[in-house]
Amino acid sequence: MNVAAGGIWQKNPSLAWREIDDETVIISPGESVMHELNDTGSFVWKNIDGQRKAEDLAALLVEQYEVTLETALADTLSLLEELYTRKLLLPAETSSGGAAL
């Protein structure tokens, strides 16, 4: 599955996670697996709220870091894809009830 720029995502609610040193550690209790995000990954993770699209997240990155929107969007999509593959993200339910990818 390819993550599209217009997709909306939410954190998998079955995960335990904490920020430490601007990094994020995520535990999947069911699989006993630990995941780590660096500072920019943590920034994106924090801002995934079930409402923001990848484009919105990239725009936030541009505000926070010295990066172009094009690069930020490409990196954001790549990260979202990785997080989705690892089952750390789920498609967000839209107000109409369907998943918005």
């Binding site: 335990a16 430490i20 040193d21 550690v25 209790p29 006993s32």
Partner: protein
Amino acid sequence: MRKALRPRTGAGTVVCKRFRLKLAHAILGSAIGTHVDLLIGSLPLRISSEDSSLLSAAAKRYRGFSDSQEKRFSIQVDRAEAGFSGQHEFVCDFEGARVVANATGAHFSGVRHEYALDSLLRMFLSWALLGQQGFLLHAATVVRNGKAYVFVGRSGAGKSTIASLSPRGTVLTDEISLLKRVDREWRAFGTPFWGEFRADGANTSAPVAGIFRLVQASDNLVVPLRPSELLRTMLPCVLFFSSQLGDNDRLLQILVAATEQVAGYNLQFQKNRSFWEVMPS
């Protein structure tokens, strides 16, 4: 014809024998007949079983951790397997044996030998310590000058080597350490869970001087770790068996607090006592 009553001294001997019998019965009852009382990481436990051989093994295995407090957490141990029923806050299986636990007590079933009991006790403690700001860690702990040095690493990392190289310190354990926040201070406790070094641990505790990730090398060097690096080091070595989200969230919270409040280090060490020369005091 009945014999005359014996003098009082003789009667006294009879009474004394009766007392001896009662005393002997009492010892039998408390040691192997009904339960074994323990204190591990300041957590008072009562292991009860109708299986005298299991209780005898437990009394011997955990003899350094016996205790006589009144109020304690009850653990019922049975050799027979038990069906799963009711609501439990913690459930975990191990090679046919099972631990189920909640806030009031625990039941270990299918416990065929003392090693299964030992495994279930570790599993149970990993869960029970959550409520006490504590956790179990694959680590050796050595007390030196009143402070606990915690050496973390998986099997083969050098925990037993460190323990054997530390004759002047009190080795609390060479395999599984118990860390717990007590009165705003992180303390390391001895456990009855040991590796190659010795068969029993010291039931005492000391404030944690630091947590050291073991790296065998040709020289001795200590490098501080950031909290995130310490967390990454510790997480794979934490004993934890619950798959419940709430338990995992609580564990992560405790570990993050520990890594932010306890100094962490990378320790490159030679296989001799010289590594103590580079240790922070």
